[in-house]
């Protein structure tokens, strides 16, 4: 400790200088504290105090994030990297958080549970800090803290309102599986720290240490670390939790889980493979083979199992596993320098999933369950909703004129360019499987219009009509955005 004493004032100076880079997170942290006080003291006077506080803090954070574009750099001894890539991702995160907060507020508006509803916004704010840290870091300590913050918040979000048997079961499976994956990741990190002595994975010494380490050991450490990231991304074989959790969790929480944590995790993962994947040593080869394999298996497994689902939420869970495989492909594109393909696909994926879950939530409230068969014949009763829902399905498949098509096109062309440079057959396989599974996914997304428009009604009980609630309006806006970006992709593309 004595060696550090002369440097302490230097350290403090550089920490103070780094604070402006951390403004977004500081605002979210202040919002978190205010939200706790709001739900403790203002709950009786004003029921939506925490909701309002959380929306205000997201808006302020987005404003600060916008200002940050003028002040790029690194902060806190290279622990945080403020670059355009991370800032774009944080915008998407904040958007996803605002939309899911609105959906949650609408979902629990009339619930009779005597649990304090304000706390759920507090938890969301807490997870947002973890996610925005994940978007900016290349340091293992920060990455681990971020992953754990998001995970713990997600366990609470799934478990807090659990009232039926199934919901508690989903929460337990999620918490146990997630903690086990995080623990294994921690062990892998400790091994990596031992090999390298540096915790920054973009550091040159880090790579050198991994190359010098025994092959078997560094391979095992790599696998252990990918376990933790894989759980957050839910790629095969760490996807087992996601269908159960999506089915058991309240629908808006599932909307949150399928978008925001995935954005954060894929950003971290892209930074990781960019640092590790571009060297000439065997280590990069192992990593590349692993990613290609996992991407192919995720796309196949997700889309094939989704075919035989009868519950829409379970179907969306498997479809998002398939999309994760596709996102891994986009991350490979990022490694080759196609940042915009990854960001565009990520943004479109966020819009699509939020819109789809918003529609599922509206229908679930009307019908009382989310089985496909309950949609039978509803197309005549709710023409606008089902037309837009089908359009979101089209976008998820990737058919023009939707934005999903443009996103897939960018990713495919990035990968194909990479193939022409490297001549590696693995990329061709990725392209083939990606195209094939897009066709497969057509069959299950089109079950929605099939049931709604072509099948006749089974039960005569008519649910109450769906009014112009905020969540309906948000869903419509997102669908319109999908069409707009499908017709004019440059509107979004020029931002990246």
């Amino acid at each position: 400790m004595n060696e550090a004493v002369p440097y302490i004032s230097n350290y403090i100076d550089s920490i103070i200088q780094a604070v402006p880079y951390f403004k977004t997170e500081i605002i979210l942290a202040i919002g978190f504290l205010c939200s706790i006080f709001g739900s403790l003291f203002l709950d009786k006077i004003w029921k939506n105090s925490s909701f309002a506080i959380s929306i205000i803090s997201y808006a302020l954070a987005a404003y600060c994030n916008y200002q940050q574009y003028d002040a790029l750099g690194t902060a806190f001894f290279n622990m945080l990297h403020i670059d355009r890539f991370g800032l774009h991702a944080k915008f998407m995160l904040l958007l996803a958080l605002i939309v899911s907060s609105i959906l949650i507020q609408q979902h629990f508006q009339h619930s009779t549970s005597n649990k304090r509803k304000g706390d759920i916004y507090t938890i969301l704010l807490g997870s947002s800090i973890g996610m925005s840290i994940l978007c900016m870091t290349s340091h293992w300590l920060m990455a681990f803290i971020g992953i754990e913050m998001v995970s713990i918040s997600s366990y609470i979000l799934v478990g807090y309102f659990a009232e039926t048997k199934k919901q508690t079961e989903a929460a337990m499976k999620y918490a146990l599986f997630g903690s086990a994956c995080a623990a294994i990741m921690l062990y892998g990190l400790s091994l990596i720290y031992g090999f390298t002595g540096v915790l920054d994975f973009a550091d040159q010494k880090h790579m050198q240490g991994l190359i010098d380490a025994p092959k078997v050991m560094s391979g095992i450490a790599l696998l252990f670390v990918l376990t933790g990231i894989g759980f957050k991304l839910s790629f095969v074989p760490f996807h087992l939790w996601s269908p159960d959790v999506y089915e058991g969790a309240p629908t808006p929480v599932a909307a949150f889980l399928s978008t925001a944590p995935k954005i954060a995790a894929i950003i971290l993962f892209s930074r990781l493979i960019q640092a590790w994947g571009n060297t000439l040593f065997y280590f990069s080869e192992i990593l590349l083979i692993f990613i290609v394999l996992v991407a192919i298996v995720s796309m196949l497994a997700g889309n094939l199992i989704a075919l035989r689902q009868q519950n829409v939420k379970r179907m969306m869970a498997y479809s998002s596993i398939g999309h994760t495989g596709f996102l891994l492909m986009a991350a490979l594109g990022y490694m080759a320098g196609h940042q915009e393909a990854l960001l565009f696909y990520l943004a479109i994926y966020t819009f699509m999933n939020l819109a789809a879950f918003a529609f599922i939530d509206l229908l679930e409230k009307q019908q009382g369950n989310s089985n496909l068969s309950s949609y039978s014949g509803l197309g005549k009763q709710l023409p606008i909703l089902f037309t837009l829902f089908s359009f979101v399905g089209i976008s998820l498949v990737g058919i023009p004129p939707s934005a999903g098509f443009v996103g897939k096109l960018f990713v495919f062309s990035a990968i194909f360019e990479r193939y022409q440079e490297m001549g590696d057959m693995a990329y061709i396989w990725l392209l083939i499987i990606g195209a094939l599974t897009s066709v497969i996914s057509l069959f299950y997304y089109f079950k929605i219009p099939l049931y709604a428009f072509l099948k006749s009604k089974t039960n005569e009980s008519v649910g109450q009509p769906i009014g112009w609630t905020p969540s309906y309006i948000v869903a419509i806006l997102l669908s319109i955005l999908l069409l707009l970006f499908g017709l004019f992709p440059s509107l979004l593309m020029q931002l990246f």
Binding site: E3, W140, L141, F144, I145, E148, S151, I152, Y155, I156, G159, A162, T164, K165, K166, T168, E169, A170, A171, M172, K173, A175, L176, S179, A180, A182, A183, I184, L186, Y187, L189, S190, L191, Y193, G194, G197, V198, L199, P243, D244, E247, G248, I305, R308, Q309, R314
Partner: protein, 101 residues
């Protein structure tokens, strides 16, 4: 003389015991205990390796954070297991299988 190898062997043994407790899947609490064992194996590794990283103390700091985060995760996990027990009257994961394909 205790060298770094001793620490590594001990932590590898603890890791294996923890992994067995998770895979055997007898009882939800046992799974949590297994998770704790794995985390502690990792913490032991961090502190042992941290001895050689005198400049930054990265290992020790990581160990402290890992302890705090593990405690938080276990608190949430236990609360969820309690909720499961109230509904199912059992915490054996093999008997809790309502959600399936």
């Amino acid at each position: 003389m205790i060298s770094i190898t001793h620490f590594l062997v001990v932590s590898a043994i603890i890791f294996s015991i923890g992994l067995y407790a998770i895979i055997a899947k007898r009882n939800a609490i046992m799974i949590l205990v297994g998770i704790e064992l794995i985390i502690n194996a990792a913490i032991l590794n961090f502190v042992a390796f941290g001895r050689y990283d005198k400049l930054n103390y990265g290992g020790q700091v990581f160990a402290l954070f890992a302890i705090v985060l593990a405690a938080a995760a276990v608190a949430v996990g236990l609360a969820i297991i309690l909720a499961v027990y109230r509904k199912y009257k059992t915490i054996n994961p093999d008997n809790i299988t309502d959600l399936q394909d």
